[in-house]
């Protein structure tokens, strides 16, 4: 019989157990922080009526949205991001939900892009949103969550913040016509990438472009930036910064950057972006305030604020930072098995009952084979009980990494393993050394158009 080639689609991945251990570690850290701030998880369907997804992201987005007819002739689309499915979800469920409503969502999304390094067709996003309040407390809380997540993941980072209202006011003040706002902001947003001259070149048709750029460029400190813009209405930024202080956010994490624009079309108030201080790493998350996200699905207007974390990029960067060096598979101990198999099974039962992740070698075999198995799976402890140990009521633990062996009283085995303190994680110093190494550019950003 002709065999089917065991292939997968381009831009999708098989995750090995170790990959999953790393991903779960990060996902659980992110999830714990979301939950700490009162966000509850929701999920939305993977297959959706095409009209609820298509037409929300511009022509390019339409082209990149997976859509097809199912067997019943219905047009189906796969989610392109988590924001639109959430808007649809809230529009159909808001009457039964508390207001404001805080949710987090960690799910796969799909984009029919040309696969390349760091650009996949199937990947995860982690979003939080607070919808149903326009109070700046929600914006500040969102930034607090960003800071807590990035701190927890050991990034050296800052959060850039700005107000869309403020940019609009400044541009209007310089006589920029409203229909040009988008192109001006898009150009200014590239300041760090293409430099001042590049931006000015793109703004060649705009009057006062040099002055505009000078006005928007952040100064050395937030205070100086605020002072330089004192003739504009800064109440939103000032209230936000004052909230930050009350929420215990350290100044060093916040950079007021009047150039920051982010996904210009639907953001209407505060915008923010978590960026790594390592310039090669770039953006880790981004979000902001939107006034009418559900407008495409219902008549009611709901103001909300949220942020999306680029999960796949975060994983790639953490790998580069060496954060996964200590990640292992689930088994902490392998119980060897020889002639006296009942003894091994008793130890197995005892250790699992004590809450220790472990496994027993599935059949009596040579010690060499059993150790090789432990090595291949990266299991740190191998439990050996030969006739000597049984006679003296002892047990020998072999430490796979050091090769050392230790014999202890049998009764102490569970306690020993439970209370074994293993050095996890690395020093900031080591991380800095790794981070300084040249990195491949990674592109996963998507701009709403």
């Amino acid at each position: 019989m002709k065999k089917i080639e065991p292939k997968i689609l381009k831009g999708t991945r098989d995750f090995m157990p170790l990959d999953m251990a790393k991903r779960n570690l990060v996902m659980n850290k992110i999830r714990r922080i979301f939950e700490k701030f009162g966000y509850d998880q929701i999920e939305t369907p993977i297959i959706c009526p095409a009209e609820t997804i298509l037409g929300k992201y511009g022509d390019e987005g339409n082209r990149l949205t997976y859509n097809f007819d199912d067997a019943g002739g219905r047009r189906i689309a796969l989610p392109f991001d988590l924001t639109v499915p959430f808007a649809r979800y809230y529009a159909s469920n808001w009457q039964n939900l508390p207001k404001p409503f805080k949710r987090y969502q960690i799910q796969r999304v799909w984009r029919a892009e040309k696969p390349q390094k760091g650009r996949l067709r199937e990947f995860y996003q982690c979003d939080i949103d607070t919808i149903g309040t326009s109070n700046l407390i929600a914006d500040t809380e969102t930034v607090k969550v960003i800071i807590e997540v990035l701190k927890e993941l050991n990034f050296d980072f800052k959060v850039k913040v700005n107000s869309r209202r403020l940019i609009n006011e400044i541009l209007a003040g310089f006589g920029v016509p409203e229909e040009k706002f988008i192109s001006v902001i898009t150009a200014i947003d590239k300041l760090e990438k293409i430099g001042e001259e590049g931006v000015l070149k793109e703004l060649s048709e705009i009057q006062n472009s040099k002055k505009i750029l000078q006005t928007l460029k952040p100064k050395e400190t937030n205070k100086k930036t605020l002072e330089s813009l004192s003739k504009y209405n800064l109440s939103e930024i000032k209230e936000f910064l004052s909230n930050c202080k009350a929420l215990g956010i350290e100044d060093k994490y916040i950079e007021f950057d009047p150039c920051l624009a982010r996904g210009l079309d639907y953001y209407t108030g505060m915008v923010f972006e978590g960026v790594s201080k390592n310039s090669d790493f770039g953006t880790l998350c981004g979000g902001g305030r939107y006034d009418n996200l559900c407008g495409m699905f219902c008549d009611e207007k709901f103001s909300g604020v949220g942020v999306a974390f680029g999960f796949e990029r975060i994983i790639l960067l953490l790998e580069k930072m060496g954060e996964f060096k200590n990640v292992r598979l689930n088994s902490k101990a392998l119980i060897t098995i020889f002639e006296n198999k009942d003894d091994s099974l008793r130890i197995y039962s005892q250790l699992t009952a004590s809450g220790i992740n472990c496994e027993v070698y599935p059949e009596p075999d040579t010690i060499g084979k059993q150790l090789k198995f432990a090595d291949k799976k990266g299991i740190p402890f191998v439990i050996i009980r030969g006739s000597d140990e049984i006679e003296n009521n002892q047990v020998t633990i072999k430490f796979m990494e050091s090769g050392k062996q230790k014999t202890i009283p049998f009764n102490q085995l569970s306690t020993y393993l439970t209370n074994y303190y293993e050095n996890q994680g690395r020093d900031t110093e080591e991380r800095a050394v790794d981070a300084a190494k040249p990195q491949d550019p990674i592109v996963t950003c998507w701009r709403y158009s």
Partner: protein, 172 residues
């Protein structure tokens, strides 16, 4: 501390404050929660509890060291069983020195554990080193020096802060 020390303490603080005597490891809880406005406690206890309460003064008594000690045959702590009443401090030490070991939490008489076969080394406080010697234990490393310190509760009222200053002069 025994009852006479409460007497001494009460006479020291006089009518400025009321003294209460509690288990040393509970002192940070009383002070942090504001039930007591300040407390006298060993630095080793603060370190063990990761207590961030402000230390107002070092008091110069109750001096001791937190050490790791073991019978002569133990040269290297890696993979060994270490008994202690200070598991968090020991963890920090192991982390800093990149040692993997098993920690056995014991509430008292830690020094007798190696001789009884419960552990291979101990992490405990010592003043003169006599107890260690009696149990044939040799200090492998000193983790920290400690003495009694005065800690204060956060968010004290102005009035209490002033009383506190007076008390501080008296204690010194």
């Amino acid at each position: 501390m025994t009852q006479p020390s409460l007497k001494i303490l009460s006479s020291l603080v006089g009518d400025i404050a009321e003294a209460i005597l509690v288990r040393n490891s509970d002192i940070p809880v009383y002070v942090d929660s504001g039930v007591a406005d300040f407390g006298i406690v060993g630095e080793n206890v603060l370190f063990e509890q990761d207590c961030r309460l402000p230390v107002v003064a070092k008091l110069g008594f109750g001096k001791c060291s937190l050490v790791i000690a073991a019978p002569k045959k133990i040269q290297n702590l890696s993979e060994e069983r270490i008994a202690t009443s200070y598991p968090n401090t020991l963890k920090k030490y192991l982390k800093k020195n990149r040692i993997n070991a098993s920690i056995i939490k014991i509430n008292g008489s830690v020094e007798i554990c190696p001789g009884l076969g419960l552990c291979d080394a101990i992490c405990d406080i010592t003043q003169t080193g006599r107890t260690l010697k009696e149990n044939r234990l040799k200090v492998i490393e000193k983790i920290m020096d400690s003495e009694a310190v005065l800690i204060s509760s956060p968010n004290l009222s102005q009035d209490k802060k002033m009383k506190f200053e007076r008390l501080l002069t008296q204690l010194k």
